[in-house]
């Protein structure tokens, strides 16, 4: 086995997989994409100059792979279903909830579904900041953005998620009630 792969896998595989999983929200797709990341990383590892941390460098490659995936998917959808209005459709996932999510409280399940309603930029920031636990500076480095753009996108993402959670609860599709503190 390639020693570079071995080392990167041991140190970062969970982070990479977790990032891709919450971006594409599908286990099998995440498995495919994480392999794609390794293929790209192994080809370019010698060119890694250490200007950023190894982890943010890997995540930045994973980001490109994820965006590429969405681009191809969008292109394909546009070709195949030009009249289909995706955003007007009900909050619906084509795949069943992954086991790890399905066993969680309803608010976790709903958040998982609401993530799919964020824009890709918003999801990138939310996943990196709150699920991966990166700082604003690390997120900016990973995405190649300014810190200011990270903060703005984060703010919009949280606002959208809040709106989605409340809308879904109001529709009655979710039985959890968050009772305000008296």
């Amino acid at each position: 086995m390639d020693s570079v792969f071995d080392e990167l896998y041991e140190k970062y595989h969970q982070d990479l997989f977790q990032f891709l999983f919450y971006m594409v929200r599908n286990r099998e797709q995440a498995e495919d994409l994480v392999q794609e990341v390794y293929v790209k990383v192994l080809r370019s590892y010698e060119r890694f100059e250490g200007r950023s941390s190894e982890k943010t460098w890997l995540l930045s490659i994973a980001k490109h792979v994820a965006i590429d995936f969405f681009r191809k998917q969008r292109s394909w959808r546009e070709k195949m279903m030009t009249t289909f209005d995706w955003m007007s459709q009900p909050l619906h996932d084509p795949y069943p909830l992954p086991e790890e999510i399905a066993v969680q409280k309803e608010e976790i399940q709903l958040m998982y579904r609401c993530l799919g309603r964020c824009t890709i930029d918003q999801r990138l920031v939310v996943v990196l900041r709150f699920i991966q636990g990166l700082s604003v500076a690390e997120t900016a480095e990973t995405l190649g953005w300014t810190e200011s753009k990270v903060k703005t996108t984060q703010h919009r993402a949280l606002k959208r998620l809040k709106q989605q959670m409340e809308e879904e609860a109001a529709k009655g599709g979710w039985h959890h009630e968050k009772i305000p503190m008296e």
Binding site: M1, D2, F5, D6, Y9, H13, Q14, F17, Q18, F21, Y22, R27, E28, Q29, A30, E31, D32, L33, V34, Q35, E36, Y38, V39, L42, F69, K72, Q73, S75, W76, K79, M80, P98, E100, I101, Q104, E107, I108, M111, Y112, V126, F130, I131, G133, L158, K159, L161, K162, M165, E166, A169, A170, G172, W174, H176, E177, K178, I179, P180
Partner: protein, 371 residues
């Protein structure tokens, strides 16, 4: 129902409690997949295509209804030869050339004459594509039954994944006999199966068409030209590269039969290929030439390859020794040899293969027994 109220801090807290989701595959498995993708990345740009899918009947019918004419001459010639060589057997048996599962005979892993349909199918772990062949008779009505009977065995007994051929039809272009037309239904799982599955599907198409003698493939989705794969992109046609590979042993587990599988990489020379057949490592393949076997020399006489075994070679296990020779015969075929002559080794034959006599390279690998 009371209206739910959320603030940003609540949202952050839920996000931070999102569960860890882990890759269920082992490190070794992922590494193998990565290596496979690296290899196929080099293939896809040159256009790979394979079509196929479980529709063995449709495939078989399409193939035989439209393409047999292109292969018929070769098949007939080989058949005639086989009849001449095997005078003691019934014509029907010669035609089928099913050496498998006969009492006291080791099941052959090659078809040496007759007609066959060959499919490249992904193995159960989707790491490699293995060509399998279904010997068929001349008569259409029997062909259909034979292919259907073989299809039933592939997944359960052979551990191969045939679902990607579901609903796919393959036929030869009426104008250009080397061009294969592959039609895929819009609902085919390859459109939603992820990039690794796309690679497997295309690799299966490539392997299938290569064995059938095709040099390029044209894709159709329904009646529309081309296929739009979410990860690979738009493909209208692909060329089928000729390859020079080695054949290894592949076995899913003890409950499945040992098959002869082509190497993932190509080799510049037959010597290098034979060397790798003895030294291949990893979990996917096993060496097809035992360490107890020593090849003293390899000589080329026009289209005849002469493989001389050293006198200290051991051929203790009859089955693996026979399959070793069959793997060498298939490898020789990849390098465009028509015959192989085995010599040395202090033996005069192994299984049905007599030493010091020219043996014609096989028609196809891994025959599926049709009962």
């Amino acid at each position: 129902m009371r209206k739910s109220q959320w603030n940003e801090e609540d949202i952050r807290l839920v996000l931070q409690r999102m569960p860890m989701v882990s890759d269920r595959r082992s490190k070794d498995e992922i590494y193998r997949q990565v290596r496979m993708m690296e290899k196929n990345k080099r293939i896809v740009p040159t256009l790979v295509s394979i079509a196929a899918a479980c529709l063995f009947v449709v495939i078989g019918v399409s193939f035989y209804s439209s393409s047999l004419s292109t292969k018929e001459k070769n098949a007939e010639q080989k058949q005639e030869m086989s009849i001449a060589m095997r005078t003691g057997e019934s014509a029907k048996k010669q035609n089928m050339m099913m050496q498998t599962d006969q009492a006291d005979v080791i099941s052959s892993r090659i078809i040496t004459n007759g007609e066959a349909v060959v499919f490249g199918l992904p193995d159960a772990s989707a790491q490699t594509v293995i060509p399998v062949s279904i010997p068929v008779s001349n008569e259409q009505i029997f062909r259909d039954k034979q292919i259907e009977a073989a299809k039933a065995q592939l997944t359960d007994q052979w551990g191969l994944d045939s679902r990607w051929f579901e609903g796919v039809t393959m036929s030869v272009s009426p104008e250009r006999p080397n061009v294969w037309i592959i039609r895929i239904p819009k609902t085919h799982p390859v459109f939603s199966g992820g990039s690794a599955n796309e690679v497997m599907f295309l690799s299966s198409v490539e392997e299938t068409v290569r064995w059938m003698g095709g040099t390029s493939v044209q894709f159709f989705t329904g009646d529309q030209k081309g296929i739009d794969l979410p990860n690979t992109g738009h493909l209208e046609s692909i060329t089928i590269p000729q390859k020079k590979r080695a054949y290894y042993f592949y076995q899913l587990d003890d409950s499945h039969p040992l098959l002869l599988a082509p190497s993932l990489q190509e080799f510049a020379t037959i010597e290098k290929a034979l060397e790798s057949m003895q030294n291949v490592t990893g979990d996917l393949f096993r060496p097809s030439i035992s360490q107890q076997v020593h090849i003293a020399s390899v000589q080329k006489q026009n289209d005849n390859l002469i493989v001389q075994f050293a006198s200290n070679s051991s051929f203790a296990d009859p089955a693996t020794s026979q399959w070793m020779l069959e793997a060498i015969l298939l490898t020789a075929k990849e390098f465009r040899f028509r015959y192989v002559t085995f010599t040395g080794g202090n033996v005069d034959h192994i299984g049905p293969y007599r030493f010091n006599e020219k043996i014609e390279v096989p028609v196809a690998p891994n025959p599926v027994p049709v009962h």
